[in-house]
């Protein structure tokens, strides 16, 4: 009986176990995986399931460990600190990004390191002196990714982009002298945003760090317009930029005394250069400090939305501020120790999830093959990546690449790829239920002598490895499907014949935002959704045009080859005719001359 009972639980099918795992937060998932073997394998296979970003408060006590206070479970987790020579009293945790904490050393000739407690990885910061206060870091990819790029913003003046080629060597991409950045930096839709001291919003393209666009925004310090009594830059006002579902928000935190505060949220309206007050954050909760700002979907982790969390470092407590009722609750962390110091917010992100971020900025097709032939591949930034994609390895290459990119932007159409046996393209789908549409046309490579090609096979594979769409032996077709889950989708072209074929293709991921996910005025929600729908409709028209254009070029190819064949045949015919006439003349003349001679005899 006992044996039967054990087997009943461990024999549950994978899909059922996944249903349960989906509903568990990260620590619970890890515990789930250590119950028995079959549950362990289910947990190991379920890495593709979305992990909700759990908010943690990081604080330190003593020297050997850092501790995490889980906001959802109200529970403290302990993790060992990485081994390093610097004593803990000299290390300060200044910022966090995507599960990584940034520790800065106050000792001379030392900078500090990045540490991810969840995967227990530690990466040294470059030996460049960075400065101490007001640093924040943003990652575009995990720091352990050999080609990853991440960014450190110095609090007062300069911007640095660092790229890590191998763990021992860092290179600083740029230090810019423009502007005087006073706020934290955020990363939104492929760009970095930071606030200058003259209330202009600096927009930095991580690809061209020298090009900083400054958008002069309305000065919130004068908002609402009441006569100011104190100095303009009052120390009890604090402005923190936040990226929340693709929008740039700014949190204005007004301190009333040491323990009390109120908070206002504004949304950046860049075209109008204005800040628009946000009354309701919807499903979002914001975790704020001077250097870190995180926006999380509260529903996913079972918390209440429309709240702002802010750390009061002095009192070892955090403030929960409800935006709707403007009510403030102070929670102190249940530590009785005087040693404990809260440092930072942190969310759990497992290393894999950062792929999503990378894709947003640095995904380019491999240009290597085309560089060798000197023919730039038509490409669009931020769209597609080839299987053999290679991240740029030197700045010179980057420049060459960018100039090619710019040159090709003018006569921009779809991407094309030459298929010898099989070629795969990857596209990241950010949200579940997005519509992925696209088309491809075989533009025949060298049709002159070969007979008509039977066509190529096209397959789409989902992140879980299932076949989503497949088309066999076509010379071009359109496809469309709804993505069953978010993740990396694989689009493969297979060429069954030896002759290489060029395929021109276009893939588009359409996202119409859910009304609940937007954090802004209620009146704007339906308008925004409609705009997104219109955008998708327009996109489909463009895609159709691209498809027709590609077909057009294919027909042009066919026509040109027919013309060439025709000219060749005609020339051959002329030649044959001329030969035949010449032969005839010779033959007839010989006949006559012979006959004359014959008659004489």
């Amino acid at each position: 009986m006992d044996m039967k009972e054990t087997s009943s639980w461990s024999n549950l099918p994978q899909c059922l176990l996944e249903l349960i795992l989906e509903r568990l937060i990260l620590p619970d998932r890890l515990r789930f995986g250590s119950v028995c073997r079959s549950w362990r394998s289910a947990q190991a296979q379920s890495l593709h399931l979305p992990v909700s970003r759990l908010p943690f408060l990081v604080f330190r006590r003593g020297s050997s460990s850092i501790e995490f206070f889980s906001l959802t479970e109200k529970k403290i987790y302990k993790m060992p600190m990485p081994k390093c020579e610097t004593p803990m009293s000299h290390l300060h945790c200044v910022s966090s990004s995507h599960g990584w904490l940034m520790f800065i050393s106050t000792k001379k000739n030392e900078t500090g390191f990045l540490f991810n407690p969840f995967i227990k990885k530690c990466v040294r910061l470059p030996n460049e002196k960075i400065g101490f206060l007001g640093l924040d870091c943003i990652f575009f990819s995990t720091p352990t990714d050999p080609d990853g790029i991440f960014h450190i913003m110095r609090g007062c003046q300069r911007l640095m982009l660092c790229s890590l080629k191998d763990p021992s060597r860092w290179s600083i991409f740029d230090e810019s002298e423009q502007g005087n950045i006073v706020s934290n930096t955020i990363f939104c839709d492929g760009k970095l945003y930071a606030l200058n001291d003259d209330w202009s919003l600096a927009i930095i393209d991580p690809l061209f760090p020298h090009n900083i666009t400054n958008v002069k925004m309305e000065d919130l310090r004068h908002f609402p317009r009441i006569p100011r009594l104190r100095v303009p830059n009052r120390p009890d006002h604090e402005y923190i930029l936040v990226e929340s579902s693709g929008e740039i928000l700014i949190a204005k935190i007004i301190r009333h005394g040491l323990r009390n505060l109120t908070c206002e949220i504004f949304r950046a309206d860049l075209p109008k250069m204005k800040w628009v007050r946000v009354e309701n954050l919807g499903d979002r909760m914001l975790l704020l400090t001077k250097t870190t700002s995180i926006s999380i979907c509260a529903r996913e982790i079972g918390c209440k939305g429309n709240r702002i969390y802010y750390i009061l470092t002095l009192f070892n407590s955090y403030v929960e501020y409800e935006l709707g009722s403007k009510e403030m609750t102070t929670h102190s962390i249940p530590v009785d120790d005087d040693d404990a110091r809260i440092c930072e917010w942190l969310t759990t992100v497992f290393c894999d999830s950062c792929a999503q971020l990378c894709q947003k900025v640095f995904v380019f097709p491999d240009l290597e093959t085309d560089l060798s032939t000197g023919k730039p591949k038509r490409s669009r930034a931020r769209v597609k990546s080839m299987e053999r994609r290679k991240w740029f390895s030197s700045t010179a290459e980057v420049c060459l690449f960018l100039s090619l990119l710019l040159a090709s932007l003018r006569h921009l159409s779809a991407l094309s790829v030459t298929v010898h046996e099989s070629e795969c393209v990857y596209e990241y789908v950010l949200y579940e239920g997005d519509t992925v549409s696209g088309n491809f046309v075989v533009v025949d490579h060298d049709i002159f002598w070969s007979s008509d090609h039977p066509g190529i096979d096209f397959t789409v594979t989902s992140p879980a490895g299932n076949l989503v769409t497949s088309l066999k032996g076509t010379s071009g077709d359109k496809f469309e499907f709804k993505a069953p889950r978010s993740g990396m989708y694989k689009f493969c072209f297979q060429n069954p014949y030896a002759t290489p074929e060029t395929v021109s293709f276009y893939i588009h991921v359409g996202h119409i935002p859910n009304e609940h996910d937007l954090a802004k005025d209620e009146h704007l929600d339906p308008v925004n959704v409609k705009i997104a729908e219109l955008r998708e409709a327009l996109e489909s028209v463009t895609a159709e045009q691209r498809y027709l254009k590609a077909r057009d070029s294919r027909h042009r190819n066919t026509n040109e080859s027919t013309r060439r064949r025709l000219i060749f045949y005609t020339l051959a015919e002329y030649l044959a005719l001329a030969c035949a006439s010449g032969l005839q003349v010779v033959y007839i003349r010989r006949l006559f001359s012979k006959s004359v001679a014959y008659n004489r005899v």
């Binding site: 006992d2 044996m3 039967k4 009972e5 054990t6 009943s8 639980w9 461990s10 024999n11 549950l12 099918p13 899909c15 059922l16 249903l19 349960i20 989906e22 509903r23 568990l24 937060i25 990260l26 620590p27 619970d28 890890l30 515990r31 789930f32 995986g33 250590s34 119950v35 028995c36 073997r37 362990r40 995490f68 479970e73 529970k75 987790y77 302990k78 993790m79 407690p117 969840f118």
Partner: protein, 159 residues
């Protein structure tokens, strides 16, 4: 799923569990199961539908839950009742609960699959692996070395 209910509510479907017991179920309830729906579409509705993977007591539980779930749609009280009942079962007889989950999965009743998974997930929240094993009567099939390694890898989550 159950929106097709009352128009044909008079129709009764006969089902037979693996141990030979015969159940008569209203069509509206039976159609919650995608398996039975597919069988009906394939036109075996006139005969008795055999369910070889489900035993009678489990099937009885499933039908009961199905009925309650259909009632609970607009009733918060019923929802609570069903939930507490599920949790009670999970505590008192975890073996039957796992069988219920399997049966629901086999019959492909989406709403109940979600519910049972949710209850179990809520039950597992914050519990240590040892406690889970004890409560659900699961046998520990790891070797001590394996277990130590798993613990070591994510020690933070187990303290």
């Amino acid at each position: 799923m159950a929106s097709t209910s009352n128009s044909t509510s008079s129709k009764i479907i006969t089902l037979r569990s693996s141990d030979g017991e015969v159940f008569e179920v209203e069509e509206s309830v039976a159609l919650e199961s995608n398996l039975i729906r597919r069988m009906m579409e394939d036109d075996c509705a006139n005969n008795i539908i055999p369910l070889p993977n489900v035993t009678a007591p489990i099937f009885y539980l499933v039908i009961e839950h199905c009925k309650k779930h259909a009632e609970m749609k607009d009733n918060k009280e019923k929802k609570k009742e069903l939930r507490s009942q599920g949790e009670e079962l999970l505590k008192s007889d975890p073996h039957t609960y796992s069988n219920l989950m399997e049966a629901v999965n086999y019959l492909d009743i989406k709403s109940l699959m979600d519910l049972t998974a949710q209850w179990l997930a809520d039950f597992l929240k914050g519990k240590s692996p040892r406690l889970i094993r004890e409560l659900l009567k699961i046998k520990n099939d790891f070797t001590p070395e394996e277990e130590a390694e798993i613990l070591e890898r994510n020690r933070w989550a187990f303290d």
